[in-house]
Amino acid sequence: MADLTVSIVSAERALWSGEAKSVVAKTPEGEIGILAGHEPVLALLVEGPLRIEKTDGSKMLVAVHGGFFSVSGNAINVIAEVAELAEDISLERAKAALARAQAETVEPNEAAIRRAETRISVAGLASAAR
């Protein structure tokens, strides 16, 4: 079976690109799994983990915070405003950020809480998979 060519681009730089067997992403309508030969799709992403199974069978997790992805042919482009590879996430920093965001009682910064929670869950999933 043909492989997918995945590239992940965040607003500040091109983050990662390579070959993969499958990609699972989270859209406003639910999770969507992409294999090679999928019909062209343009979908929004919601904050959450993006799961990539590489051709050698290893799994890769990316925390995406908003954005969209497009599938055409066997190429899939993930365009996220902010995206981080699981191994780049510092669990301590994410936890500290979560605590800080929750401590702001005057005006709870929901975006910051969501972002920190996504980071923590992605880092957690990645360490469980290892």
Partner: protein, 300 residues
């Protein structure tokens, strides 16, 4: 040493100290231009994908001209103008140029019956409006030499909020950005870009013939995707304007500091000549005094 000579020596030392500073700033600015350019290049893939997706979604959506972000309101009353200036001076006419261009834009808008609300980036611009006691819609400072996406997002959200507020409650109908386009190391030019309302529809038709999109399945439907993409487009427009301006700012500063260094060198050369002349004049005077004294003794 005579008094005149001492004055020259002191001035030479002072100019030399200034020259060291301007030389250092020139070198720092040169290295930062490269970094700013790299950041600009790194942000391009995102922009390409984003534009392609917006065009695809606009083609897929049933009637884009009705979309709030694209509909051209018949009664334009207010326009937000984002003016990108520098935080620090010593960059030649960099900030002054954008501010002057912005004034031109305000005049044009005024003639069309539109009130301009400036949103100002950079301490220089903020000071300009504060000194003239003119109201601004927003002030953003502290990041112009190294803007991050978070900065751009903050500005983009403010602009979008102003745009989405109904006109009766003080919202704006248009968004313009005045920034300095980085052509190359030697040339930068101030540009005005209208971000909203979008004119995607024309672009779609234009580009359609060149490269057809695959028939995308939209998830959720095309209109919702478009809704989700357009705020990102605004934020990214702000981001690339900030990056462009940052690169231009460093280039302008490098040029200003280079001419300051050259000027200091000229000054040192002139002052050294004058100091030598003063020394020579002093020696000549001493000799003529001695000769004169000896003559007076001999004749008596």
């Amino acid at each position: 040493m005579g008094a005149q000579q001492r004055v020259f020596r002191r001035r030479i030392r002072s100019v030399q100290a200034t020259k060291k500073i301007t030389k250092a700033m020139e070198l720092i600015a040169s290295s930062r231009i490269v970094k700013a350019q790299q950041r600009l290049d790194a942000s391009l893939p995102y922009l390409q994908h984003l534009m392609a997706a917006i065009n695809a979604a606009a083609t897929g959506a049933s009637d884009v001209s009705k979309h709030p972000l694209m509909a051209n309101p018949d009664n334009r009353a207010k326009a937000a103008v984002l003016v990108v200036t520098a935080d620090r001076g010593l960059a030649g006419a960099y900030s002054a140029n954008t501010l002057r261009e912005a004034e031109g834009l305000y005049a044009n808008l005024r003639n069309a019956g539109v009130t301009a609300i400036p949103f100002v980036v950079g301490r220089k611009g903020v000071a300009y409006y504060k000194f003239r006691e003119r109201a601004v819609g927003g002030e953003y400072t502290g990041f112009t030499d190294q803007p991050t996406y978070a900065d751009a997002k903050r500005i983009g959200e403010d602009l979008l909020n102003a745009f989405l507020t109904p006109a009766e409650e003080g919202g704006v109908d248009e968004i313009h950005i005045v920034y300095t386009h980085f052509v190359n190391m030697g040339t930068q030019e101030v540009r005005i870009r209208r971000v909203l309302p979008l004119e995607v529809v024309d672009e779609v038709i234009e580009k359609d013939s060149a490269m057809p999109f695959p028939l995308y399945e939209f998830e959720p439907e095309a209109e919702t995707v478009l809704d989700g993409l357009l705020p990102q487009y605004i934020q990214h427009s702000v981001y690339s304007a900030l990056l462009m301006s940052a690169a231009s700012e460093h280039a302008a500063r490098r040029r200003a500091m280079k001419s300051a260094t050259d000027n200091a060198e000229d000054l040192i050369r002139t002052l050294t000549r004058q100091a030598n002349q003063a020394r020579q004049a002093e020696i000549t005077q001493e000799i003529s005094e001695i000769v004169g004294g000896a003559d007076a003794l001999a004749s008596s």
